[in-house]
């Protein structure tokens, strides 16, 4: 079975320009038609293989920058070869590869793999309730490692201002459907005796990491489990051992009492979190494997044989 991947922020795909994204290692061109509907084509023209994404979006679809062949977003069919005479038509089988695309809560999703696209989109679980901070990056870490590090040491991948994320896990990762959820202690920086000696952690960081797919949710919670910050990070495999990231997150509007620093930050519109595009290799290498072991084990259990051995070639086919 295939799956939906969140590959882009809604606002990143606008006007007559396509966006080049990489998902599961494959390059895609994402664009909208005049009415705002989103489409995804393989970023490869079937004429002479050049990327389609630098081309302009025309009323008939995405136009290849090399010779102007134009491809319908919904079907992938080539509907225009410029310079043809009026009485000539493009052969019916001429088409670019098309991927179903759908949008929810500020994320553009692409369906990759076999089967009918599922009704539920990963981004549907995210709903902003406060001023949003968004971004995208290609991180210098491999995709599966990114997910593992999100469990073993999220402080290598992201930060909350003035917050020290500890690696003291509160319990073990628990299974929630296709995800593992793990809470860990965190403290405000510069308070008390240091993170190792607090009687109780003043904050919790909750990470929700998928076994398969790329939808990650990270929350900063108060000691009373009230959410302060929620972040949805969509990760997917980019090329050469890197990982595509797109994220949206927000500071909850009426959370527990905030430090003066956070109140200031909110007042000037500073983001209440940072996602790292450049990851510290030494820090990641030094991480000991802990809860990610559960993810690897659960992954092996969960994946049906069919899912595990689908060759890349087939995964791409739609």
């Amino acid at each position: 079975m295939g799956r939906w991947w969140a590959v882009a922020l809604s606002e990143a795909v606008q006007g007559d320009k396509a966006l080049a994204v990489t998902c599961e290692g494959e390059q895609l061109a994402v664009f909208r038609d005049g009415r705002g509907a989103v489409f995804a084509l393989e970023d490869r023209c079937p004429h002479r293989r050049v990327p389609l994404s630098p081309g302009p979006v025309k009323p008939a679809g995405l136009q290849c920058p090399y010779h102007g062949w134009t491809f319908d977003g919904a079907t992938g069919l080539c509907n225009d070869i410029p310079n043809l005479r009026r009485d000539e038509r493009v052969p019916a089988r001429y088409a670019a590869r098309v991927f179903p695309a759908s949008e929810a809560n500020g994320f553009i999703h692409v369906w990759r793999g076999k089967g009918t696209p599922a009704a539920e989109l990963p981004g549907a679980s995210y709903r902003a309730a406060g001023r949003e901070h968004t971004g995208s990056a290609v991180a210098n870490i491999a995709f599966e490692q990114y997910l593992d590090v999100m469990l073993d040491g999220p402080e290598c991948l992201l930060s909350f201002p003035s917050v020290h994320i500890t690696d003291f896990f509160l319990g073990d990762a628990r299974r929630d459907g296709g995800h593992l959820v793990l809470d860990r202690g965190a403290v405000w920086k510069g308070k008390g005796n240091g993170p190792a000696f607090v009687r109780d952690h003043s904050l919790w960081v909750r990470t929700r990491v998928p076994l398969t797919g790329g939808d990650i949710r990270v929350e900063l919670l108060s000691a009373d489990e009230d959410p302060l910050v929620t972040i949805f990070i969509a990760a997917s495999e980019n090329r050469r051992g890197t990982t595509s990231l797109v994220w949206r997150g927000f500071l909850h509007t009426a959370p527990a009492p905030l430090s003066w620093r956070w109140r200031m930050a909110r007042a000037i519109g500073r983001a209440p979190f940072a996602i790292f595009p450049h990851i510290d290799g030494a820090a990641v290498a030094a991480l000991e494997v802990a809860p990610s072991r559960d993810r690897r084990l659960a992954k092996t259990d969960a994946s049906t044989p069919a899912e595990r051995v689908v060759p890349v070639q087939e995964r791409c086919a739609v």
Binding site: H47, R48, R49, P65, H67, I81, L84, E88, P91
Partner: protein, 347 residues
């Protein structure tokens, strides 16, 4: 209404081509002369050029030109390692003509000067070729992909629209001819809008002009000889030899022979390479990696790809012939034959 007439001659060629692999990085055609440098660029200090990943060091000493596998200071020490490309001597056959140094790539026993392509608009001894006509550019792709790009006409309307203008014209007819060693593409355009560059600096005030553009491609060495002739206007003959530095890069010492065009067009026009090259490279660069292996997903073509598909077919045929050990030139091939009639040169 009809579909694209895929089954005309060009269409049949596309079908034939599509059954074969088109893996341009694997094309390594031998027994040919490569214009590896402008004569004017080579003095006493050795310069390193590379053909199909084979080093060619060029220098002059006592008025003599040398083309060797090794740097002059290491030549003696390394000569024992000289390859079959120099019969173990370390020195390639090299000849100066048309303002270029031509080095032989292949079996030195087969190096004959008559195999140097004829370029009828350039002085054979290279005397008086102004330096402003000579410009070196580089492409980040296998040479045959660049040649395809040059043969291909329809991309100019998109990739080069700002420099070359749109394709609005009354009539636009393309013919392709070939031998076992060459492809010739002839384009006749009547009443096309004058290219912006010609209007701005080329002194052509008319709104429309006719164009007869001939491109003559030598398959083995990717030497592309072009004779676009504008009426009203003038010809802008040029040579673009895509020397394969390796599988993934090519170097082109162009000669845009604008000496007969009015000033300042004459001096400025060769600089158009600085606009055109990045545009072409923007597609060639990503194309290159996508042709590394033969794939079931063959390229789709339209009838405008007739000349390009003919090129692919002939290249593959020539490569197959060389694989069988046949490096000879066929009876229909005579690189040094005068091509001024082929190019449609006046006078």
């Amino acid at each position: 209404m009809s579909e694209v007439p895929m089954m005309d001659a060009a269409g049949r060629e596309a079908e034939v081509t599509s059954k074969r692999d088109w893996v341009p990085i694997n094309l390594d055609l031998r027994d040919t002369w490569f214009p590896v440098a402008y004569s004017a660029d080579i003095g006493e200090r050795a310069v390193r050029r590379i053909v199909h990943a084979q080093d060619v060091y060029l220098w002059r000493d006592g008025g003599r030109l040398y083309a060797a596998e090794f740097r002059p200071d290491r030549l003696e020490a390394m000569r024992a390692g000289a390859s079959t490309f120099t019969n173990g001597s370390g020195f390639y056959p090299a000849v100066e003509r048309y303002g270029y140094i031509w080095a032989w790539y292949g079996n030195p026993d087969n190096a004959h000067e008559e195999l140097i392509p004829n370029i009828p608009f350039l002085p054979p001894d290279g005397q008086g070729i102004p330096r402003y006509t000579q410009r070196a550019v580089r492409f980040d792709a296998a040479s045959p992909l660049s040649v395809e790009n040059l043969i291909d006409l329809t991309h100019a309307d998109f990739l080069h629209a700002n420099a070359i203008g749109d394709s609005q014209s009354e009539n636009d007819v393309v013919e392709v001819h070939s031998t076992s060693e060459t492809v010739t593409r002839i384009r006749n355009v009547t009443r096309k809008s004058v290219a912006p560059v010609m209007r701005w600096i080329g002194g052509v005030r008319a709104q429309y002009q006719d164009l007869r553009a001939v491109l003559h491609v030598h398959l083995r060495n990717n030497v592309c000889i072009s004779y676009p002739n504008f009426t009203p206007g003038y010809p802008i003959p040029n040579v673009q030899p895509f020397v394969p530095v390796g599988k993934h890069r090519s170097r082109v010492d162009q000669t845009n022979y604008t000496v007969h065009a009015p000033a300042p067009f004459r001096w400025l026009m060769p600089r158009i390479s600085y606009v055109i090259q990045p545009q072409d490279n923007s597609v060639l660069r990503p194309q290159n990696a996508r042709y590394f292996e033969s794939t079931e997903r063959r390229d789709l073509s339209s009838r405008f790809d007739g000349p390009g598909n003919r090129y692919r077919l002939l290249m593959v045929r020539l490569a197959e012939r060389q694989q069988r050990g046949d490096f000879g030139y066929g009876a229909d091939a005579d690189p040094s034959a005068d091509i001024s009639a082929v190019l449609g040169m006046r006078g």
